[in-house]
Amino acid sequence: MKLQRKKLKASVPSFAMGDIAFLLLIFFVILARAQDDSHIQWQPARLDKVEMAPAASASVAIDTGSKTYLDGKEISPEEIAAKLSAVLGDAPAGQRHVFLKVDREAKAAVFEPVIAAISEAGGDLIHILEPEEQPAQK
């Protein structure tokens, strides 16, 4: 007579699903933050009339210490044109938007070569600015 072997059930406890999802989310959030430029310290300049900016393919920033960044990673101004060209690839005109975030204290000696580099890479330049505060109406 053969004895039947008991089948062992191995299942992931369903109450742990929330924890798994939570940890996965934390993981992806950290991964996403490593690519963005929210860690860069800069104050946008103000202008009276600003438009809503479309989605950008790349972002170039100049921080309060006059350091330049491409997509959140520090880069020298001389390297921007080549690296930005690689990022933009063969994207057609109109889909080559590049955000330029310049700290309001930055000087022309710092930001003009960066603007020239974006232009050289064929990027559609969008200056990221803050709308000027309107005086309160009586």
């Binding site: 109450f15 929330g18 924890d19 999802a21 939570f22 989310l25 934390i26 959030v29 300049a45 103000r46 202008l47 600003v50 438009e51 809503m52 900016a53 950008a56 938007h97 955000f99 310049v102 700290d103 309001r104 204290e105 930055a106 000087k107 022309a108 000696a109 930001f111 003009e112 070569p113 603007i115 020239a116 974006i118 232009s119 050289e120 559609d124 330049l125 969008i126 200056h127 990221i128 600015l129 803050e130 709308p131």
Partner: protein, 140 residues
Amino acid sequence: MKLKRGKMLVDPPECASSDIAFTLIIFFLVCAAVQPETGMSQILPKAEEKSEERQQSKNLEVSITASSIILNGNPLQLPEFTRRIAAELKTKTREQDRIVVVKSAPDTPYPVWIRVSRAIDSAGGILTLELESEKIIQIK
């Protein structure tokens, strides 16, 4: 005699706390991602280095310093500059004549530069940067 009503203790189930945290994170992520950026788009032709080929006499030249804006040699303040550049460009119909060559002093602040470039764009000018190229001159 009054009877005391017993307090009811209702604790949320502990196994749901991670789900609550998960939902909260989703909420804050969506809030953070939705914040729109505002700015000003600018079309720039390729930056030119100082060359002799440029038709200096035909193009408008703007020099920007920290304290002044100079249009074809005349120092102006921004409101006057906005009016003058608009008047100058009004008469120019060909695209190549609408090129405005901008040369900035190294200490020109970004807010000044952006206001001047906005004035040029609004007047229909094509902004071109003139960057100083470094040259090594050997003296014998």
